[in-house]
Symmetry: C2
Subunit: 241 residues, 2 copies
DNA sequence: CTTTGAGTGTCGAGTCCTCGACAGTCTGCC
DNA sequence: GGCAGACTGTCGAGGACTCGACACTCAAAG
């Protein structure tokens, strides 16, 4: 069990949910829901990243939050029927478990532990988005680039991310040429290697030094609100060994 | 009753809350809570604005959301004991009703209508913050300035806002000199008049034209999620007469 | 093996905003 | 009345990012 929320459920509560959890392949670029869609399914990533994108009237889309194995997409539908606020897009290949919103709602009604988890997840997500408001206003593209790469790295397997500069430019809400310049600069510093749609993380310490505080703040918020993950595959270099 | 949430409560539910609602003067600049504080009181503005500020490690503070008579500060404490995520600062003189978090929690337990309202408010606030993530990344200072002035105007009495350019620069996360330039430009267009800590709204239509879409998006989101206000003092010019 | 298209590198003019500095002006307080 | 402090106006150099353009390279499909 690799999803932090599901792992935190008491065995009995999980057992009742378990038969309804459907394995779901996360395919890069797939849209799970659009703003205004009724949320019929909730996705618990096991590995991989789903981006919640805010859409502007001119068609621009920018990431408001990233959700990986520490959370779930559409979770507020546990509380009551709900329409999506953001577009949810799969960022890269991965695996998730899918659950019908109605089943989830019934489980939520029955399980205090699940109610607590849904609440904690909502608070964490809110804190995350709040941080991004400030981040987008105050921090440079390079800082935000590093924050994003690190957050993504935490949520996937391996040290290679499949993403183009064009895509990253969208996510960050900047021009592609700016991303190119930043990527080049970080490559020169030995932090990453960029090769045609793939980013290799070479040196996390360099990335952490170049990232804004937002990376650590959000990560620690989730650690505070949600039960610890079984095993931390990657750790902040500043943390205890 | 001028608070939209309280006004939406069924009479019986409100009656049970009513004896515990304490009138509270909103004094400009007063801090209601800091991040990490336990939320002991919830504030329902009747008139006036409270800013939720995200704090950075270097001391910078930038607004993540504005709360007025359409909402409440600290409302999630209704669900369970909670620590504040943002700093809550009174933006300008006004009035509110204050409620103990424990009383609110008991009422929340007893009243399905209140639970729905808390949930709807949370969703609206989340949507608001999400919009601001995109806004801060994609929109010019002038657009954001106008959005902010309009949002504020909706939530106070009269057409004059008490705020300095320095304060506004903080809120928006930009330099004061930039605010000065933008204010000057809008004054030249006849949208506002700026005089030493006071902004007169002269022509809302001009402001709405110069504001980014975020103003209308957030406003309509609240209208969709919360029961209509009794009387709309100020309306979007694009709305029906 | 060749073609096509996606992805990247680069250039340069232009704009928006920063950042520090300083002068001027209004308000409230003594 | 006059002083102190808060607030606003202005200047200018510089940096970060935009925006359009184009050439190049790699990978996959035929």
């Amino acid at each position: 069990m690799q999803n932090r929320l599901l792992a935190a459920l008491p065995p009995g509560d999980f057992a009742r949910l378990s038969p309804h959890l459907v394995p779901f392949e996360l395919e890069r670029g797939r849209t799970l829901h659009e703003p205004g869609d009724r949320i019929d399914h909730v996705y618990f990533p096991l590995v991989g990243v789903i981006s919640l994108m805010a859409l502007m009237e001119n068609g621009a889309a920018i990431e408001s939050a990233m959700i990986g194995p520490e959370g779930a997409v559409g979770l507020p539908a546990a509380i009551r029927q709900r329409t999506a606020i953001s577009r949810a897009v799969v960022q890269g290949k991965g695996r998730a478990l899918r659950l019908s919103a109605t089943v989830l709602h019934e489980a939520w009604t029955a399980s205090p532990a699940l109610r607590d988890l849904v609440d904690a997840h909502g608070e964490g997500l809110y804190a995350n988005v709040t941080q991004s408001v400030a981040c987008n206003a105050l921090h440079s593209v390079e800082e935000r680039f590093c924050r994003w790469i690190l957050s993504c790295h935490d949520r996937v397997e391996g040290d290679t991310l499949a993403l183009t500069q064009e895509y990253l430019a969208d996510i960050l809400g900047v021009q592609r040429t700016t991303v190119t310049a930043v990527a080049r600069s970080l490559q020169d510093k030995g932090a990453i290697r960029y090769r045609r749609g793939l980013v290799d993380i070479i040196d996390r310490a360099v990335l952490e030094a170049a990232a804004c505080e937002c990376y650590g703040v959000v990560r620690r918020t989730y650690d505070r609100l949600l039960p610890a993950a079984q095993r931390q595959v990657k750790s902040e270099t500043s943390a205890e060994p």
